[in-house]
Protein backbone atom coordinates (compact mmCIF):
# COMPACT_ATOMS: atom_id res chain seq x y z
CA UNK A 1 0.00 0.00 0.00
CA UNK A 2 1.02 3.58 -0.52
CA UNK A 3 0.50 6.57 1.72
CA UNK A 4 0.79 10.06 0.34
CA UNK A 5 1.49 12.77 2.89
CA UNK A 6 0.93 16.32 1.69
CA UNK A 7 2.70 18.81 3.93
CA UNK A 8 1.76 22.51 3.77
CA UNK A 9 2.67 25.54 5.85
CA UNK A 10 -0.19 26.37 8.19
CA UNK A 11 -2.54 29.16 7.26
CA UNK A 12 -1.24 32.41 8.67
CA UNK A 13 2.41 31.32 8.41
CA UNK A 14 4.09 33.50 5.81
CA UNK A 15 5.39 31.45 2.86
CA UNK A 16 8.26 33.44 1.29
CA UNK A 17 8.84 30.77 -1.38
CA UNK A 18 5.19 30.85 -2.45
CA UNK A 19 5.41 34.65 -2.63
CA UNK A 20 8.50 34.43 -4.85
CA UNK A 21 6.80 31.92 -7.18
CA UNK A 22 3.76 34.19 -7.40
CA UNK A 23 5.87 37.17 -8.37
CA UNK A 24 7.80 35.06 -10.95
CA UNK A 25 4.49 33.96 -12.52
CA UNK A 26 3.50 37.64 -12.75
CA UNK A 27 6.84 38.31 -14.44
CA UNK A 28 5.99 35.68 -17.09
CA UNK A 29 2.75 37.48 -17.85
CA UNK A 30 0.36 35.18 -15.99
CA UNK A 31 -2.11 37.48 -14.34
CA UNK A 32 -4.86 36.72 -11.88
CA UNK A 33 -2.70 34.54 -9.60
CA UNK A 34 -3.96 35.69 -6.22
CA UNK A 35 -1.75 33.57 -4.02
CA UNK A 36 0.74 30.69 -4.18
CA UNK A 37 1.49 28.29 -1.35
CA UNK A 38 4.36 25.84 -1.70
CA UNK A 39 4.44 22.53 0.18
CA UNK A 40 5.82 19.05 -0.27
CA UNK A 41 4.54 15.57 -1.01
CA UNK A 42 6.05 12.54 0.71
CA UNK A 43 5.23 9.09 -0.74
CA UNK A 44 5.53 6.11 1.59
CA UNK A 45 5.56 2.55 0.24
CA UNK A 46 4.27 0.50 3.19
CA UNK A 47 3.51 -3.10 4.10
CA UNK A 48 -0.10 -4.00 3.32
CA UNK A 49 -2.38 -3.40 6.29
CA UNK A 50 -0.14 -0.83 8.02
CA UNK A 51 -2.19 0.81 10.75
CA UNK A 52 -3.05 4.42 9.81
CA UNK A 53 -2.37 5.50 13.42
CA UNK A 54 1.22 4.43 12.82
CA UNK A 55 1.40 6.64 9.72
CA UNK A 56 0.03 9.58 11.70
CA UNK A 57 2.71 8.92 14.30
CA UNK A 58 5.38 9.04 11.56
CA UNK A 59 3.96 12.41 10.51
CA UNK A 60 3.90 13.79 14.04
CA UNK A 61 7.34 12.54 15.05
CA UNK A 62 9.35 13.26 11.92
CA UNK A 63 7.66 14.15 8.64
CA UNK A 64 5.83 17.25 9.84
CA UNK A 65 6.86 20.11 12.16
CA UNK A 66 3.57 20.95 13.85
CA UNK A 67 4.76 24.43 14.84
CA UNK A 68 4.62 25.62 11.24
CA UNK A 69 3.16 22.81 9.14
CA UNK A 70 -0.05 20.84 8.73
CA UNK A 71 -0.55 17.68 6.69
CA UNK A 72 -3.08 15.66 4.79
CA UNK A 73 -2.84 11.87 4.54
CA UNK A 74 -4.13 9.85 1.56
CA UNK A 75 -3.91 6.06 1.54
CA UNK A 76 -4.01 4.56 -1.95
Amino acid sequence: MKAIVTVMLKNGVLDPQGEAVKSALGGLGFFGVNSVRQGKVIELDLDEGTDPTQIHEMCNRLLVNAVIESYHLDIV
Binding site: V13, L14, P16, Q17, A20, N65, V67
Partner: protein
Protein backbone atom coordinates in the same frame (compact mmCIF):
# COMPACT_ATOMS: atom_id res chain seq x y z
CA UNK B 1 37.50 22.73 34.83
CA UNK B 2 34.29 22.87 32.86
CA UNK B 3 33.76 19.84 30.63
CA UNK B 4 32.19 20.47 27.26
CA UNK B 5 31.38 18.34 24.22
CA UNK B 6 30.75 19.48 20.66
CA UNK B 7 28.44 17.23 18.63
CA UNK B 8 29.52 16.47 15.06
CA UNK B 9 26.96 15.44 12.44
CA UNK B 10 27.68 14.62 8.80
CA UNK B 11 27.56 18.12 7.32
CA UNK B 12 28.55 20.06 10.45
CA UNK B 13 31.08 22.72 9.47
CA UNK B 14 31.45 25.03 12.49
CA UNK B 15 32.51 22.32 14.93
CA UNK B 16 36.20 23.28 14.92
CA UNK B 17 35.41 26.95 15.56
CA UNK B 18 33.13 25.92 18.44
CA UNK B 19 35.82 23.68 19.96
CA UNK B 20 38.38 26.50 19.62
CA UNK B 21 36.06 29.13 21.20
CA UNK B 22 35.33 26.87 24.20
CA UNK B 23 38.97 25.84 24.56
CA UNK B 24 40.15 29.48 24.44
CA UNK B 25 37.64 30.30 27.17
CA UNK B 26 39.06 27.65 29.51
CA UNK B 27 36.88 24.59 28.92
CA UNK B 28 38.03 21.00 28.48
CA UNK B 29 36.45 20.10 25.13
CA UNK B 30 35.78 16.79 23.41
CA UNK B 31 34.05 16.07 20.10
CA UNK B 32 31.28 13.49 19.97
CA UNK B 33 29.98 11.75 16.85
CA UNK B 34 26.27 11.66 16.03
CA UNK B 35 26.15 7.85 16.18
CA UNK B 36 27.40 7.78 19.77
CA UNK B 37 24.50 6.93 22.03
CA UNK B 38 26.24 8.32 25.12
CA UNK B 39 27.88 11.61 26.05
CA UNK B 40 31.15 11.59 28.04
CA UNK B 41 30.52 11.34 31.78
CA UNK B 42 30.54 14.39 34.03
CA UNK B 43 29.73 16.78 31.21
CA UNK B 44 28.61 20.37 31.95
CA UNK B 45 27.88 21.63 28.45
CA UNK B 46 26.92 20.22 25.06
CA UNK B 47 27.36 22.52 22.08
CA UNK B 48 25.66 21.82 18.76
CA UNK B 49 27.53 23.63 16.01
CA UNK B 50 26.50 25.20 12.73
CA UNK B 51 26.54 23.55 9.35
CA UNK B 52 24.18 21.57 7.17
CA UNK B 53 23.59 18.38 9.12
CA UNK B 54 22.31 15.60 6.85
CA UNK B 55 22.19 18.07 3.96
CA UNK B 56 19.22 19.90 5.51
CA UNK B 57 17.06 17.03 4.15
CA UNK B 58 13.36 17.11 5.08
CA UNK B 59 13.76 20.24 7.24
CA UNK B 60 16.91 21.89 8.62
CA UNK B 61 17.92 19.93 11.73
CA UNK B 62 15.06 17.41 11.49
CA UNK B 63 17.15 14.31 10.78
CA UNK B 64 19.91 15.32 13.22
CA UNK B 65 17.29 15.72 15.95
CA UNK B 66 16.45 12.00 15.56
CA UNK B 67 20.08 10.80 15.78
CA UNK B 68 21.21 8.63 18.74
CA UNK B 69 23.33 11.41 20.27
CA UNK B 70 20.36 13.78 20.35
CA UNK B 71 18.40 11.60 22.79
CA UNK B 72 21.49 11.80 25.04
CA UNK B 73 21.53 15.61 24.57
CA UNK B 74 17.83 15.82 25.53
CA UNK B 75 18.53 13.69 28.65
CA UNK B 76 21.48 15.94 29.52
CA UNK B 77 19.24 19.02 29.22
CA UNK B 78 16.51 17.37 31.29
CA UNK B 79 19.07 16.70 34.04
CA UNK B 80 19.75 20.46 34.10
CA UNK B 81 22.87 20.43 31.92
CA UNK B 82 23.81 23.35 29.68
CA UNK B 83 23.20 23.16 25.94
CA UNK B 84 24.23 25.73 23.34
CA UNK B 85 22.94 25.44 19.77
CA UNK B 86 24.27 27.84 17.16
CA UNK B 87 22.80 28.26 13.66
CA UNK B 88 22.11 24.68 12.47
CA UNK B 89 22.48 23.79 16.17
CA UNK B 90 19.54 26.11 16.93
CA UNK B 91 17.53 24.40 14.20
CA UNK B 92 18.35 21.01 15.71
CA UNK B 93 17.34 22.18 19.21
CA UNK B 94 14.03 23.54 17.94
CA UNK B 95 13.36 20.19 16.22
CA UNK B 96 14.02 18.32 19.48
CA UNK B 97 11.69 20.68 21.32
CA UNK B 98 14.37 21.81 23.81
CA UNK B 99 13.66 25.37 22.69
CA UNK B 100 10.34 26.56 21.27
CA UNK B 101 9.54 27.72 17.75
CA UNK B 102 10.85 26.81 14.31
CA UNK B 103 13.34 28.26 11.81
CA UNK B 104 11.95 28.96 8.35
CA UNK B 105 13.40 30.15 5.03
CA UNK B 106 14.68 33.77 5.26
CA UNK B 107 11.94 36.17 4.21
CA UNK B 108 14.20 37.58 1.45
CA UNK B 109 14.90 33.99 0.24
CA UNK B 110 18.64 34.66 0.08
CA UNK B 111 21.46 33.08 2.05
CA UNK B 112 22.74 35.83 4.36
CA UNK B 113 26.39 36.04 5.34
CA UNK B 114 27.34 39.23 7.17
CA UNK B 115 27.97 40.72 10.58
CA UNK B 116 24.84 42.06 12.28
CA UNK B 117 24.02 44.02 15.43
CA UNK B 118 22.33 42.09 18.23
CA UNK B 119 20.73 43.58 21.32
CA UNK B 120 21.27 41.63 24.52
CA UNK B 121 17.74 41.28 25.91
CA UNK B 122 18.45 39.60 29.23
CA UNK B 123 21.45 39.12 31.53
CA UNK B 124 19.64 36.39 33.39
CA UNK B 125 21.35 33.30 31.96
CA UNK B 126 24.79 31.70 32.08
CA UNK B 127 25.15 32.61 28.39
CA UNK B 128 24.36 36.32 28.66
CA UNK B 129 25.56 37.20 32.18
CA UNK B 130 28.76 38.69 30.73
CA UNK B 131 26.87 41.43 28.86
CA UNK B 132 24.85 44.39 30.10
CA UNK B 133 21.20 44.25 29.17
CA UNK B 134 20.48 46.51 26.21
CA UNK B 135 24.06 46.41 24.89
CA UNK B 136 24.47 46.01 21.14
CA UNK B 137 27.06 43.43 20.08
CA UNK B 138 28.39 42.58 16.60
CA UNK B 139 28.10 38.93 15.61
CA UNK B 140 28.18 37.27 12.16
CA UNK B 141 25.20 35.41 10.69
CA UNK B 142 25.47 32.81 7.92
CA UNK B 143 22.16 31.13 7.16
CA UNK B 144 19.41 30.47 4.65
CA UNK B 145 16.79 29.37 7.16
CA UNK B 146 17.02 31.69 10.13
CA UNK B 147 13.54 33.18 10.04
CA UNK B 148 12.36 32.43 13.59
CA UNK B 149 8.69 31.61 13.95
CA UNK B 150 6.77 30.80 17.12
CA UNK B 151 3.08 30.35 17.81
CA UNK B 152 1.30 33.20 19.57
CA UNK B 153 1.31 31.17 22.78
CA UNK B 154 5.02 30.37 22.58
CA UNK B 155 5.82 33.99 21.82
CA UNK B 156 3.81 35.21 24.78
CA UNK B 157 5.65 32.78 27.08
CA UNK B 158 9.07 33.78 25.67
CA UNK B 159 8.40 37.47 26.23
CA UNK B 160 6.70 37.24 29.63
CA UNK B 161 9.32 34.82 31.02
CA UNK B 162 12.22 36.99 29.78
CA UNK B 163 13.50 34.13 27.59
CA UNK B 164 14.45 36.16 24.51
CA UNK B 165 18.25 36.24 24.78
CA UNK B 166 19.10 38.30 21.68
CA UNK B 167 17.19 40.41 19.17
CA UNK B 168 18.43 41.68 15.80
CA UNK B 169 18.92 45.46 15.80
CA UNK B 170 17.93 45.46 12.13
CA UNK B 171 15.89 42.31 11.36
CA UNK B 172 17.71 40.62 8.43
CA UNK B 173 15.57 37.52 7.88
CA UNK B 174 11.95 38.18 8.87
CA UNK B 175 12.19 36.64 12.34
CA UNK B 176 9.10 37.22 14.44
CA UNK B 177 9.71 40.07 16.93
CA UNK B 178 13.28 40.23 15.52
CA UNK B 179 14.22 37.27 17.72
CA UNK B 180 17.77 35.94 17.17
CA UNK B 181 18.16 33.68 20.20
CA UNK B 182 15.90 32.06 22.83
CA UNK B 183 16.33 30.31 26.17
CA UNK B 184 14.61 27.20 27.52
CA UNK B 185 12.29 27.45 30.55
CA UNK B 186 15.16 26.53 32.93
CA UNK B 187 17.40 29.09 31.09
CA UNK B 188 20.16 26.49 30.57
CA UNK B 189 19.53 25.83 26.89
CA UNK B 190 20.26 28.61 24.40
CA UNK B 191 19.49 28.44 20.68
CA UNK B 192 20.73 31.30 18.49
CA UNK B 193 21.20 31.84 14.75
CA UNK B 194 24.21 34.24 14.90
CA UNK B 195 27.68 32.73 15.43
CA UNK B 196 29.37 33.94 18.65
CA UNK B 197 32.21 31.43 18.00
CA UNK B 198 33.08 33.45 14.88
CA UNK B 199 33.39 36.64 16.95
CA UNK B 200 36.30 35.69 19.19
CA UNK B 201 39.04 37.97 17.92
CA UNK B 202 39.04 41.64 16.86
CA UNK B 203 41.23 40.65 13.90
CA UNK B 204 38.34 38.55 12.61
CA UNK B 205 35.96 41.52 12.74
CA UNK B 206 34.56 41.26 16.26
CA UNK B 207 35.46 39.88 19.67
CA UNK B 208 31.95 40.32 21.07
CA UNK B 209 31.40 36.56 21.32
CA UNK B 210 34.11 36.20 23.97
CA UNK B 211 31.86 37.42 26.79
CA UNK B 212 29.32 34.68 26.04
CA UNK B 213 31.85 31.84 26.22
CA UNK B 214 33.73 33.30 29.20
CA UNK B 215 30.54 33.77 31.23
CA UNK B 216 29.31 30.31 30.29
CA UNK B 217 32.57 28.53 31.13
CA UNK B 218 33.05 30.57 34.34
CA UNK B 219 29.54 30.09 35.68
CA UNK B 220 29.57 26.40 35.03
CA UNK B 221 32.81 25.98 36.98
CA UNK B 222 31.18 27.59 40.01
CA UNK B 223 27.81 25.87 39.59
Amino acid sequence: MMRAAVVVFPGSNCDRDMVEALHQSGADVAKVWHKDAKLPQGLDLVAIPGGFSFGDYLRCGAIAAQSPICSAVVDHANRGGYVLGVCNGFQVLSETGLVPGALMRNSGLKFLCKTVGLTVETQDSAFTAGYSQGTEIQVPIAHHDGNFYATEEELKALESEDRVAFRYSDNPNGSISSIAGVLSTNRRVLGMMPHPERAMDAQMGSADGQALFRALVGQTIHA
